[in-house]
């Protein structure tokens, strides 16, 4: 699974799955903290819809960590103040970069979590869709 998809699942899951996967690496492989979790900023680049040009919207606070596993450095970045999650994401990223065999076993767990997140969003959206206006034009 590519990084974009798996980081989305791991962050939107809330951290429990990231913890489980990271611990399975920490128990079986040596790891070294390159950069402990720290706060930083990410500037958001937007495309406005009037003239389709780019501008900077503002910054978002992120927590970032870097961890080395099997001579591969993984990065964990997440919006907010989430030290533990950033660390777990970095370990998981390093595991994928090092192509550790354990990563092949994670596919099913990630897909299951993705389905659960999707269902939750669909239900949330169903509630929002109940606020859709059903216009009726009145005869005068």
């Amino acid at each position: 699974m590519k990084r974009k998809q798996r980081t989305e699942i791991l962050i939107q899951d809330g951290g429990a799955l990231a913890k489980e996967l990271a611990e399975s690496v920490m128990q079986n492989y040596e790891y070294r903290e390159i950069e402990e979790p720290h706060y930083g900023l990410t500037m958001i680049k937007m495309r406005e819809t009037a003239k389709k040009s780019l501008f900077y919207l503002g910054e978002v606070l992120v927590t970032e960590a870097k961890i080395e596993v099997n001579q591969s450095i993984g990065i964990g970045i997440v919006i907010g103040m989430k030290e533990e999650l950033a660390e777990h994401l970095a370990i998981i990223d390093a595991a994928y970069r090092a192509d550790l065999p354990v990563t092949a076993t994670w596919q099913t767990q990630l897909e299951t979590a993705a389905e659960k997140i999707h269902q939750q969003k669909v239900k949330e959206q169903a509630e929002i869709l109940k606020t859709k206006v059903n216009f009726e034009t009145m005869e005068v």
């Binding site: 990084r3 974009k4 780019l54 978002v60 606070l61 970045i77 103040m81 969003k121 239900k123």
Partner: protein, 371 residues
């Protein structure tokens, strides 16, 4: 006139800080940051937007520390932002990827995807709700339980819906001009001070971090005749958009290799502004242009006002202050305007003595120092 150093205030300042702490603590009530976050979300959104830093927890902390003073909370958050390193720039955010929580149009009732009222005060009675004086946590939990049970019982469609922009629908009909993607790298006003005339990226960055009241007032002034823009709202949408960043070292990485880092909630507005233009035959005809507004969090009034000012500044006009970019852009920043106004209460003894000397001279029948 130069500045002179004075001393003698140290003990008074320490005592003043004690009074400040006393005022915050004297009622023996402690407001938890999570309480501010959970119950004062619009306030948190406004502080984040004006500070230009999306950090809900820190904004709530700033509100607590500032005892609810907006200008102080924004100042605190802006100051904290200056202590943090910026490691990343996001990939370009497109609001078509938004998980829409609310979306309305004042221009068309039948927009593709429909109008979603979402969560809004717009249709609520503006009467004080005295039930909130004695709110029961138990009753609230019961209400929430019922709501969640209803959600569980629903079996909605399997797919998640994403909503097209109203303006794209009109562009497809040929009613609005189409623009190719403009990938000119934006300027960043936090790195370089703005120079006049400004570029569009600078104007949008200043407007989106403007003080809500100031942006709203100037937008309103334009509507009342101190400007030439009176739009119809094409679309207001509120929702969360995903933020992605590229790997800092993997140069040849594909888009699928970027990091998803989380979502931010935004309010985005497109205003439709009628303008008269001359066609190829030199005949006047009516066209529409688009004013653009956006804000961190849910702040629809500010985003709408920003869309008015965006369009005003696209069309400079010497007669109207709201079309003067220097007038608008240099006066809407919360930290700059409140900072300058409030500095007036700090000691100006030497300056004022000089002015007094001048007045005394004039009263005595002499000439002032300035003449």
């Amino acid at each position: 006139m130069g500045y002179v150093a004075v001393k003698g205030g140290t003990e008074a300042i320490e005592a003043s800080l004690d009074r400040l702490k006393y005022d915050r603590l004297k009622e023996a009530e402690v407001v938890e940051i999570n309480t501010v976050l959970a119950t004062m979300r619009h306030l948190v959104d406004q502080v984040m937007s004006e500070a230009s830093l999306y950090a809900p927890f820190l904004a709530a902390l700033a509100i607590k520390q500032a005892r609810g003073s907006m200008e102080e909370a924004v100042f605190l958050l802006r100051a904290h932002r200056s202590t943090l390193p910026r490691h990343y720039y996001s990939e370009t955010v497109d609001t078509e990827d938004m998980f829409v929580e609310r979306r309305v149009s004042a221009s068309f009732k039948d927009i593709p995807g429909g109008q979603l009222l979402g969560s809004t005060n717009d249709y609520a009675h503006r009467l004080l709700d005295f039930d909130l004086v004695k709110e029961s946590k138990e009753e609230n939990q019961n209400w929430l339980r019922t709501y969640h049970e209803r959600m569980k019982a629903d079996h909605p469609d399997k797919d998640l819906q994403f909503f097209p922009k109203v303006v794209d629908y009109l562009r497809a009909e040929g009613l609005f001009e189409r623009y190719p993607l403009d990938d000119t790298p934006p300027n960043d006003i936090t790195k370089e001070s703005i120079q006049f005339p400004t570029g569009r990226s600078e104007r949008l960055q200043v407007l989106t971090r403007g003080q809500t009241g100031a942006v709203t007032s100037l937008g309103y002034a334009s509507l009342r005749g101190y400007g030439q823009v009176h739009p119809t709202i094409g679309e207001v949408r509120v929702g969360s958009v995903p933020i992605h960043v590229q790997h800092p070292y993997e140069e040849d990485s594909e888009q699928d290799d970027s990091f998803y880092i989380g979502d931010v909630q935004l309010t985005e507005v497109e205003s439709f502004v009628p303008v008269t233009v001359k066609n190829n035959n030199q005949k006047e005809e009516l066209e529409f242009e688009i004013g653009y507004g956006i804000s961190f969090g849910q702040n629809e009034t500010k985003a709408i006002a920003m869309s008015i000012l965006d369009q005003c500044l696209q069309k400079p006009h010497g007669e109207f202050p709201t079309h003067d970019e220097e007038f608008v852009l240099l006066h809407i920043d919360s930290v700059e305007s409140t900072g300058f106004i409030s500095h007036l209460k700090l000691p100006h003894y030497v300056t004022f003595q000089s002015e007094l000397d001048s007045v005394r001279q004039v009263k005595k029948g002499g000439e002032s120092n300035d003449s």
